[in-house]
């Protein structure tokens, strides 16, 4: 009698921060098969946004994802500005990119804490989330909101950086950089963390290409794709982004890629702040958008984010399609879980940085 058992990593499980249903069939301690069911947090945003005006949709798309809210409004505003033919002033673009990078740091540190928590390493969880507070404080000082900043408007950015804020933000950035560097140093050398994450959830570059995986998961397997460098949206034209790559393709490589990306983002933040041009931060946008279509892409903390917007001339969008990066990594989980120990299921699931609210929309 093969003692096959089905473990529900059910909609509610300490491992998952958001509801998602995984039914894992286990033989002894080895995973044999897994089925995935999404839709527990599906709010029908793509249908709902057709009943709201462009201005209101700003705050709707900000709440697609709890962690990377700013990059959603950035992609959306970029698309609508392209339809309107608006030219966003450079200072607005710089501030918009600054918050994008700060959000990447905050998202990667949050993920590092969740990974530490899932492999039983309580201290890394506490340290990562303590350091992340600084990133949240900076964002709160800039926009008034820790996570949902609502500082993007169609035509630019609603916030501005005064001189007093400038110096306090730069000093907080330096402090944050030292702490993140120390965290990266600990991750690289801590024995038990390496033992628990190395060689688990391997994804070959071919698989990455077949499943069109994006973001840190792809970069950890050597696939060099980063929209900040390839698409040059927002203020990335003025910046030189060196992309963190690794080739082992397992959870350990993803940890290293994300940690190095966080440090790279901090460097970009300082570069943006120092080179902040003068001038207005937004231009006035009309309420009606001329008919047309646009596909706008940006690099969210988890990978390529795509907004397809079609307008029919009224003040409400006719169709908005959002493709979030977590969906691509969720497809690969079935292959990653093949033949893995039950104890490693938590490592695999936290390795791909699940943002289920993004996947479900």
């Amino acid at each position: 009698m093969s003692n096959r058992m089905t473990i529900p990593i059910g909609p509610q499980h300490p491992l998952l921060k958001e509801p998602l249903s995984f039914m894992i069939t286990v033989e002894g301690e080895r995973v044999v098969d897994s089925t995935l069911r999404l839709g527990y947090v599906h709010r029908g945003i793509e249908r709902l946004c057709q009943t709201k005006t462009y201005v209101q949709n700003l705050h709707l798309f900000e709440r697609v994802c709890g962690i990377c809210s700013h990059v959603h409004t950035t992609t959306y505003c970029q698309g609508v500005e392209a339809l309107l033919g608006l030219e966003v002033p450079p200072r607005g673009l710089h501030l918009r990119t600054l918050l994008c990078e700060l959000e990447r740091v905050h998202s990667h540190l949050l993920w590092l804490g969740v990974l530490g928590e899932n492999i039983g390493f309580q201290t890394i969880f506490m340290y990562a989330w303590r350091d992340r507070e600084i990133a949240l404080d900076i964002m709160e000082e800039l926009s008034g909101g820790r996570v949902t900043h609502s500082c993007n408007v169609i035509g630019g950015v609603r916030i501005d950086v005064g001189d007093a804020q400038f110096s306090s933000i730069v000093s907080q950035l330096n402090d944050l950089e030292q702490r993140v560097e120390k965290l990266l140093d600990v991750i690289q050398h801590e024995r038990t963390l390496r033992v628990r994450t190395q060689g688990i959830g391997y994804l070959s570059p071919e698989k990455i290409r077949n499943y069109c995986v994006v973001g840190p998961v792809a970069r950890a397997s050597g696939v060099d794709v980063d929209l900040r460098r390839d698409c040059k949206y927002a203020a990335y034209g003025w910046l030189h982004v060196n992309v963190a790559l690794a080739h082992e393709g397992d959870v350990w490589a993803r940890t290293m890629v994300r940690a190095r990306e966080a440090i790279e983002s901090l460097r970009l933040c300082r570069q943006l702040l120092v080179g902040l041009p003068e001038g207005p931060t937004q231009v006035r946008a009309p309420r009606r958008v001329p008919p047309g279509e646009v596909v706008s892409r940006a690099e969210a903390p988890r990978g390529e984010l795509l907004y397809y917007i079609r307008s029919d001339g009224s003040d409400k969008p006719a169709r908005v399609k959002i493709r979030t990066p977590t969906l691509t990594s969720l497809i690969t989980v079935h292959d990653q879980l093949e033949g893995v120990e039950t104890a490693d299921v938590s490592v695999v699931l936290s390795g791909i940085d699940l943002c289920i609210a993004c996947a479900d929309r």
């Binding site: 793509e46 970029q78 069109c212 794709v225 047309g292 646009v294 596909v295 397809y308 969906l327 497809i331």
Partner: protein, 151 residues
């Protein structure tokens, strides 16, 4: 992404006399195809050009037709656009060429009632099992307006 090479590539595969190409903002080119040549076009793209990354498939209900947009990306954006009749809308799946498309096709299948012929497991992805309200993204589906009267 050199567009002429791709256009010439698709021209050989497709029986259409002249390919209709539109450019859309933020560096995007869209090519309109008849639905039954879609599978051949995607195969040609994958085999003979550097394009491999399918960002997503957008489905929409626009002026009486169900339109599917296959967004590819390779240095710049490339969209293959096909439109299907509203009744018995069905098209050939591309999961055999790009396994990553399975989730997008499942989502469009439940949102716009499009059957993807040959899809390995065309079940519901996002909608609950007991959803009886019909495909939400078709225009027949109406949302109660949450604004009170007298605004």
């Amino acid at each position: 992404m050199n567009l002429p090479r791709i256009l010439e590539l698709l021209q050989e595969v497709l029986p259409v006399a002249r390919l209709e190409v539109q450019t859309m903002p933020i560096d995007e080119h869209s090519i309109t195809l008849p639905p039954d040549n879609l599978h051949a076009a995607v195969r040609a793209l994958l085999e003979r050009s550097h394009v491999y990354h399918l960002s997503t498939i957008t489905g929409q209900d626009v002026d009486g037709q169900i339109e599917l947009l296959y967004h590819f990306w390779e240095g710049g954006g490339l969209t293959l656009r096909t439109s299907l009749p509203r009744e018995q809308t069905s098209v050939e799946t591309i999961t055999d060429l790009i396994p990553g498309a399975s989730f997008y096709e499942r989502e469009i299948a439940e949102m716009l009632q499009v059957t993807f012929v040959g899809h390995p497991n065309l079940q519901r992805l996002l909608l609950p099992d007991d959803w009886t309200g019909g495909p939400p993204l078709r225009y027949e589906f109406t949302l109660p307006d949450d604004r009170e009267e007298g605004e």
